[in-house]
């Protein structure tokens, strides 16, 4: 059931009506039923449901067992407060912590195991096959990859790690936990939420609220505008450009910019719809984007793009690896043997390399994603090393505060990130290097004036719509960048007028109906 399908819109309207009609106590159970129904429609064999329920059950029991260890530990320490020495308390706490660690480890291995087997088995088989003769090649296995498994598995792992860390207690109601894992708007492409962020609003009783409805609706329509008017229109040209190597040279540059625009509208549009739906239901989700194309360097870009994934990797992979015993020893050793300057970088860069490798792998079971992740690492590392040089340059030429220099930094970041993203387009590492290379060696600016761009599957009218949509999105983003919000929420007339305008724009200019194929969100495949 695509977010952009009439079936989904009917499902959503029915659910929202019921949500505010049923007794308040029944709201979150209704959401669970709705979420499972949504997931069932994604795969009517019921296999997706079996996977998500299995993950939920494992996390539920792991959480409850950790709760019990915590309760037992607190009771024991309280009862023996006077008799236990400091060393006894320390030893007891360590024993309890190792019990929780064992529970956590089993739960993580189980769930990451499911994710790995479903998503990466055929990738491993394909790689093994490259070393085997034709006669002995292994057959790929027909594997079910449940929709959104990367998202809900990471969300569930985050939950269970936070229980282990004592950030919050485990949820004692299995159905409430099931809702957290399966909340339907997030199943398509995230965001990867934290339990501590959602808990307050997910299970609360919600009254029908004008601002929730109108602001949620505005957000949904803004998302549909980006998805249907831009992403689902420009995709035709992107597909044409990347599926034929004859489109080399400056065509690759055009494909790069078009894909940057498409991915931005597809992913941020989808998240706008997700956050908007949650808002209508009175539920607050964390923002996943903060004007990423206004970033002045790659590090800033990754603080603004797919924020919930970035913070997930930082909190649950980067930090634990960086502060682990072996890494601290390596850091100490490298400082002593390689000097302070190089030594202090070793553990940080090694941890970062592992994180980017994992990030690439998370995006897909293919080498192009892994190389994409590693390219991000290389660029971040180089820019980190160049920082002192930049500081000297900025100090000498005093350009940092100049508006034109800010624009230059933004354009440079967009260009760099879009270029790395071409691995995502061509899905083939050598081909990507080759095609991106032609961008610099086969410059042909004629294609911008000789009508070549009209042969990419989109018409002149489509280009006009895309340019106007670009101006609208850029204007809205610039307003938000400069003053932090787009319009004053108290201005009801403006808010409702915008709603009406957005609705008309989507109906008139949305790429749907005869001649268009509704496409799933790009990030749904991850």
């Amino acid at each position: 059931m695509l977010f952009t399908s009439a079936k989904f819109i009917a499902f959503l309207i029915a659910l929202v009506f019921l949500y505010y009609l049923v007794p308040k106590k029944a709201q979150w159970p209704l959401l669970l039923i709705g979420s499972y129904a949504f997931y069932y429609f994604a795969d009517t064999s019921g296999m997706y449901l079996i996977f998500i329920i299995t993950t939920t059950i494992s996390a539920y029991f792991a959480g409850i067992m950790m709760n019990k260890v915590n309760d037992k530990s607190s009771a024991y320490l309280k009862a023996n407060k006077e008799t236990l020495s400091k060393e006894d308390k320390k030893a007891y706490k360590a024993k309890m912590k190792s019990k929780k660690w064992a529970i956590l480890l089993v739960c993580l291995i189980f769930n990451i195991g499911i994710l790995s087997v479903t998503k990466y088995t055929n990738f491993v088989i394909n790689n093994i096959n490259t070393f085997l003769s034709d006669a002995s090649k292994l057959q790929p296995i027909a594997m079910i990859v449940p929709m959104g498994i990367s998202f809900y598995t990471f969300q569930t792992c985050g939950y269970i790690i936070d229980v282990y860390r004592g950030k919050h207690d485990a949820q004692r109601n299995p159905f409430k936990l099931a809702l957290f894992v399966s909340f339907f708007p997030q199943l398509v492409q995230g965001p990867i939420s934290r339990y501590s962020d959602m808990e307050a609003s997910l299970y609360k009783e919600h009254k029908l609220n004008e601002s929730d409805i109108s602001e949620g609706l505005t957000r949904i329509l803004w998302g549909y505008f980006k998805k249907l008017v831009v992403a689902d229109r420009i995709i035709t040209a992107v597909t044409t450009l990347i599926s034929d190597t004859a489109y080399s040279g400056t065509y690759v540059f055009v494909a790069m910019l078009f894909y940057a625009f498409e991915l931005y509208c597809d992913f941020t549009g989808g998240i706008d719809i997700t956050i908007g739906i949650a808002r209508i239901l009175g539920i607050t989700l964390k923002e996943n984007f903060n004007l990423p194309y206004f970033s002045k360097n790659i590090k800033e870009y990754w603080n603004r793009w797919h924020i919930t994934m970035g913070t997930w990797f930082t909190d649950y992979i980067f930090y634990p690896i960086s502060v682990s015993g072996p890494m601290l020893k390596l850091s100490k050793w490298s400082r002593e043997h390689l000097g302070q300057n190089i030594g202090k970088r070793v553990s940080v860069y090694l941890s970062s390399l592992i994180v980017w490798f994992t990030t690439g792998l998370w995006h897909g079971a293919a080498w192009n994603f892994i190389v994409w992740g590693l390219m991000n690492f290389v660029v971040i590392m180089i820019s980190q090393e160049l920082e002192p040089l930049y500081a000297k340059f900025h100090g000498k030429f005093k350009v940092k505060d100049k508006a034109w220099y800010g624009v230059f930094e933004i354009v440079r970041t967009i260009f760099l990130m879009s270029m790395i993203r071409m691995f995502d387009c061509y899905r083939d590492v050598p081909l990507t290097f080759k095609m991106v290379g032609t961008m610099f060696t086969r410059v042909n600016l004629k294609i911008f004036v000789d009508g070549s761009l009209l042969n990419l599957g989109i018409t002149k009218a489509d280009y006009i719509i895309l340019v106007v949509a670009f101006i609208i999105i850029l204007s809205v983003s610039t307003i938000k960048y400069n003053r932090g919000f787009v319009f004053n929420k108290d201005k009801y007339l403006l808010r409702y007028s915008l709603l009406a305008v957005l609705f008309v724009l989507i109906i008139v200019f949305g790429a749907y109906g005869v001649g268009y194929d509704s496409t799933q969100f790009i990030y749904n495949q991850f």
Partner: protein, 76 residues
């Protein structure tokens, strides 16, 4: 506390660590800095700051970080 201030100042000489209380919130220090700090704290104070203690409240100021080091020293 002086040793900690020295570690932090070596990382960001332009920041006044005696007064700044928004090191993480204002993105003055990032995840790379935090890992460097933890590694140097480990050498200087012989305490391991575990991943679960890497939260903004513990790294927003030199004072908060010092309090965390003392707490971990007491626990060891």
């Amino acid at each position: 506390m002086d040793a900690l201030i020295e570690i932090l100042t070596n990382l960001h000489p332009e920041v006044d660590f005696d007064t700044c209380e928004t090191l993480v919130d204002d993105k003055i220090i990032d995840s790379f800095d935090i890992v460097s700090i933890i590694s140097e704290v480990n050498e200087e104070y012989d305490v391991v700051i575990p991943a679960e203690e890497i939260i903004p409240e513990n790294f927003n100021s030199a004072k908060a970080l010092y309090a965390l080091i003392k707490k971990l020293e007491d626990e060891e």
